[in-house]
């Protein structure tokens, strides 16, 4: 498992990085933590003549509150995200999701931006981004723009990033009020890819009616998926009227192209997915009730 030879570039700024991207086009790939890319290179499943290492660009590493969002620099290691107090306070879904991301060794090198740009359908951070309607900040020589999560994940390992664009940061909206958050994931072993899982956020009003709900699903499609049916079903209802089992079941409707592979059939994934959403609903609503 030795990769083919390539040219290695380490720009110091985002501007340099996007310049290199434009120069090399298809022949270049952004490298951050390398936890997804490097194995593919080593197994020769892919090859790029140029790797552009952005892992040390200062402007891409950081976590800070910006208006009502928590901004996470794209090259911020997962481990930092998981340990950060601001994140734990303002975007608890990220804190809850991080321990599921591989193993701690992977989290020390893997980055939040890398995970989102790689867009694995079983990824934890993409599901959180989707559940919270995060915005992906993107830069190229042509300028900057922000892409909403619902428009970002377009297919298996495909995003709406153009070939000359690099993800520079992600803004996660902060939910305030009576909120509850939960991440439930089922995998074969600790640290494995999710077979089915969810990142769930719920907000209640004073009468225990659901005012907001975001449910991101992992492992149940070629991309992370919003369980929109379940979200729409619960909003406006009092949580005493809803059972976790119902919410789990509805969350599994409207899903298309559920994976079927060595780990299980689509039917199995639906069963597990429903159970994960049910458990997450129970935990999140309990937290919201106490808030």
């Amino acid at each position: 498992m030795k990769a083919r030879g390539f040219a290695y570039h380490r720009p110091d700024t985002v501007d340099e990085a996007v310049g290199l991207l434009r120069e090399f086009g298809d022949e270049a790939k952004i490298l951050a933590g390398g936890q997804s890319l490097v194995p593919m290179l080593a197994m020769r499943l892919t090859h790029f003549e140029n790797l552009i290492d952005i892992s040390r660009i200062d402007e891409l590493i950081g976590i800070e509150l910006r208006d009502d969002d928590v901004w996470v620099g794209a090259a911020t290691p997962d481990a930092f995200v998981g340990m950060d107090d601001e994140v734990a306070e303002s975007v608890p879904l990220l804190t809850l999701a991080t321990p599921y991301v591989g193993h701690f060794q992977i989290r020390n090198r893997g980055t939040l931006g890398g995970s989102i740009a790689h867009a694995d359908p079983a990824g934890e951070y993409p599901a959180v981004a989707l559940a919270l309607d995060a915005r992906m900040e993107v830069a190229s020589r042509r300028g900057s723009r922000a892409i909403g999560a619902t428009d970002f994940f377009t297919g298996l390992w495909e995003t709406s990033l153009a070939g000359d664009e690099v993800l520079v940061g992600v803004r996660f909206p902060v939910w305030r009020g009576r909120c509850g958050f939960a991440v439930e994931e089922f995998a074969r072993r600790h640290g494995d890819f999710a077979i089915a899982g969810t990142a769930l956020a719920v907000q209640l009003d004073a009468e225990n009616k659901v005012t907001r709900c975001g449910i991101g699903l992992m492992g149940l499609g070629p991309t992370p998926v919003r369980a929109s049916a379940a979200e729409q079903a619960v909003v406006g209802r009092r949580i005493e009227e809803l059972t976790a089992q119902d919410v789990g079941g509805i969350a599994m409707t409207g899903l298309d192209d559920i994976p079927a592979d060595l780990q299980g059939s689509a039917r199995y994934r639906i069963r597990v997915g429903a159970a994960m959403v049910a458990r997450a609903w129970t935990n999140a609503t309990r937290e919201a009730l106490d808030a």
């Binding site: 990769a3 072993r189 060595l262 780990q263």
Partner: protein, 775 residues
């Protein structure tokens, strides 16, 4: 007796650990030779295809690429290719070094690329242009036996794809027809593999000036590799030297040299310098081999009281395309050991071994363990059918110590063991009755927890052919320090530590003064290596033989020097001391100095402070046995199984080092847990391997396995010190303990797992199917 056993039986820290844990081990990939070149194999992408043409032109045009060898270049140089374990007269299945005319599994080596470094070699391998014509493949060995005319043929010489088979006396069908209780199950065990942490590898260096071949290898059997290499190339064995320092796990995958090793040895004389091949993990999972893939039907008949009347096993084993020598040999053991450690009056077996277009069968730690898997699963199923607790059913059938020697219905002479003792110890450690209460409470809360037992008996240290003897050289150096030389094969099983303990005891030396040298064929006596759980009993025997001679030499010199009789002397702590007059003593260092530098003062005693001897084991088999007990909880929504407790109660005789025994048992147990729940070398219908990386081939990790609790029973075996083999047992007893725990947990739902592995998805499917029936 002038020697006290001071180290044997104690938890001495391993001598291997310091270098291994600080990254200073010397594995094959650490070997660097001047001008060394690197090898990479071009491998077949098809499970079965004809090779039309191999064009290396583009590959050879890359700078730094030295050669591309094909079957035409290498295969004809083979002089002899038989292995000692089968002998030269037993007809063998095909095993060409490189694929000849046809490829027979995905990963089949087709060409050998040699380049200045591995990166270049892989670049070149991608450019070797091979034209194939794809042929239909046998991806699933279960399609072979069943009479379908359209099954493709793997080897032309075996048109029915049957490699071999055997049957004992036929089953007593009348008994099965009339017995009070009869159970029958079809049980399938998946293909899974040892996955040693160090993949296969070899460095070969031919010195043409002296016609000598030096081999550094990752192997369990350095001397046999040397002998095989010499025969392969038709050169005198004196001209071949194998050097093994550290091997990172073997488990049977590294017992005999494989086709890639053959290719490297054949290429050695055709390249200008040393040549290294290190397999990567994908290659290891795709092409190193396969094991444990068996499908069969088992039956047991019981009387009214639950006593076993008869047992029958009828099965088919997958041997892949290029099995390592004589697969029929260990497969026969499945039938022979099926009665297990129980009082079984009648037992019958019949089996076939069949080819498929998958990698060849190789040995894997307790290769016959399908007999324990099926028997123990069947006993639990029988217990539930009869209405007895599985513990009770075993209790009334398991053999007691006072029944030894006991000849099982297939002629296996059990002795020096008491399976009932290990069984009862396991039951006690578990608190079986307490668990049943806990289980009932859990069920009332809608939780499913279960308990599984498994008992087995295994042959260790079998004295057949070249496995029956073991040599040792023990030498006191001029400084008084001791070196012990044994053949080696240390691959994580601590045989450096145990031989040092045994030698220190044999001579009365302080353990800090004893070192071992193993694995270098130029320096160590011949030995069959580490396999078949033989190292403990055989090394103990060899050290005893050589150690006794050297001890007598030391005593003679000491007696003369101290002016007493030999019987008056005690050897301990690297000193010879007069028992009744402790002030009168002389150190080993002083004895050695005189012998080497002042021999005139020895008073006529021979200045020989070394001894070489061979131990010839008179014990056909050392019987070890154990009972495994496992508790689990099954999450019926996801099918996930959590193991909550795991107990191994074993008898390997007195233990040279309890840490080593427990380590061996634990390692094997975890491999068995992997086989029960996680590991599967899966193939699709076209014969493509699906589990080619650790993303898909799932090994148990620390988070999947509970702390393993041990109980020891120490019934001496027939050999020196009473030591019995400890290497394989863990991997034998574990899969059924886990499966039985799952089946016990799910019994209220009417679910029985009979196909391994018991994955969450498979368990859910069974639960859904069963509840579908119930509605």
């Amino acid at each position: 007796m002038t020697v006290t056993a001071r180290y044997a039986g104690t938890r001495v820290a391993r001598v291997e650990d310091t270098r291994l844990l600080t990254g200073k081990g010397t594995f094959v990939d650490d070997i660097q030779r001047p001008g060394m070149l690197h090898a990479c194999f071009v491998r077949s992408p098809f499970a079965h295809a004809a090779i039309k043409r191999i064009d290396p032109t583009e590959a050879l045009s890359l700078p730094g690429v030295i050669a591309v060898f094909t079957a035409d270049d290498l295969n004809q140089d083979v002089r002899e290719a038989w292995h000692a374990v089968t002998g030269k007269d037993v007809p063998d299945t095909p095993r060409p070094p490189l694929a000849e005319g046809e490829v027979k599994f995905v990963g089949d080596p087709v060409a050998l690329v040699v380049a200045e470094n591995r990166y270049l070699a892989e670049d070149a391998a991608d450019l070797v242009d091979v034209e194939y014509v794809q042929l239909p493949a046998v991806a699933d060995f279960r399609t072979v036996v069943g009479g379908d005319e359209d099954v493709p043929v793997v080897h032309a010489a075996y048109p029915d794809n049957i490699a071999g088979g055997m049957a004992g006396a036929p089953p007593d069908e009348e008994l099965f027809a009339t017995a009070a209780h009869v159970v029958k199950e079809r049980i399938y065990q998946q293909m899974y593999v040892p996955v040693p942490i160090e993949t296969r590898g070899i460095v070969v260096e031919w010195t043409s000036a002296t016609n000598e071949l030096t081999i550094w290898a990752s192997t369990q059997t350095p001397h046999e590799l040397r002998a095989f290499g010499a025969r392969l190339l038709g050169i005198p064995a004196q001209g071949v030297r194998v050097i093994v320092r550290d091997t990172g796990g073997g488990f049977g995958q590294k017992v005999v040299p494989m086709r890639e090793d053959m290719c490297l040895m054949l290429a050695a004389r055709k390249v200008p310098s040393a040549l290294k091949w290190i397999e990567d993990r994908r290659e290891n999972l795709v092409s190193a081999g396969q094991s444990r893939h068996v499908d069969g039907t088992v039956r047991m008949a019981f009387d009214d009281d639950g006593k076993i009347l008869a047992a029958d096993i009828d099965f088919v084993q997958d041997v892949g395309s290029y099995p390592t020598p004589y697969p029929v040999l260990t497969t026969a053991a499945i039938g022979m050991f099926f009665p297990g450690p129980y009082r079984v009056p009648k037992s019958s077996f019949s089996y076939k071994t069949v080819f498929s277009n998958t990698p060849g069968l190789h040995a894997y730690r307790g290769p016959w363990q399908y007999e324990t898997l099926t028997r123990e699963m069947l006993l639990d199923i029988a217990a539930r059918k009869i209405g007895m607790d599985p513990v009770e059913l075993r209790r009334i059938n398991i053999l007691r110590g006072d029944e030894m020697p006991f000849v099982n219905p297939n002629g296996m002479p059990y002795d020096n063991c008491a399976p009932a003792d290990t069984f009862e110890q396991a039951v006690k450690i578990l608190d079986h009755e307490g668990f049943r209460k806990e289980q009932a409470d859990a069920l009332a809360q809608g939780r499913y927890i279960g308990l599984g037992f498994s008992a087995y008996i295994e042959p260790t240290g079998a004295a057949t052919g070249h496995l029956a003897t073991e040599g040792a050289t023990v030498r006191m150096e001029p400084t008084g320090k001791i070196n012990v030389y044994v053949n080696g094969g240390s691959s994580g099983n601590s045989i450096e530590t145990t031989v040092v303990q045994l030698t220190a005891d044999a001579l009365g030396a302080d353990i800090g003064d004893v070192s071992t040298i193993q694995g270098d064929t130029a320096v160590t006596p011949y030995g069959a290596g580490t396999q078949g759980s033989r190292s403990a009993p055989m090394t103990a025997g060899a050290v005893n033989e050589a150690g006794t001679i050297l001890r007598n030499q030391i005593l003679a010199m000491a007696a003369h020097r101290l002016g007493v009789e030999q019987d008056d002397i005690e050897l301990a702590g690297s000193r010879a001391t007069v028992r009744d007059d402790p002030d009168k003593s002389v150190s080993f260092a002083e004895i050695a100095y005189r012998s080497y530098y002042e021999p005139a003062q020895l008073g006529g005693i021979s200045p020989t402070l070394e001894a070489t001897a061979r131990f010839n084991s008179q014990s056909m088999i050392h019987w070890a046995n154990a009972t495994h007990a496992c508790t689990c909880e099954v999450d019926i929504e996801t099918g996930h199984v959590t193991l909550t407790r795991y107990i191994v109660s074993e008898d390997v005789g007195p233990m040279i080092n309890p840490n080593v025994v427990e380590g061996q048992v634990a390692g094997g147990t975890v491999q068995g847990i992997g086989g029960a729940l996680l590991e599967k070398l899966a193939y699709d219908d076209a014969g493509n391997p699906q589990a080619s990386t650790f993303v898909d081939y799932l090994l148990p990790t620390a988070t999947e396995v509970p702390v393993i609790e041990f109980g020891h029973v120490e019934i001496p075996g027939p050999g020196v010190g009473g030591y019995k083999g400890a290497g394989e047992g863990g991997a034998i007893g574990s899969p059924p303990a886990v499966i039985n725990a799952i089946n016990d947990a799910l019994a209220p739902l009417g679910v029985t797992v009979t196909q391994l592995p018991a994955t969450p998805a498979a368990i859910v499917e069974l639960i859904e199917a069963q509840s579908g029936k119930d509605h």
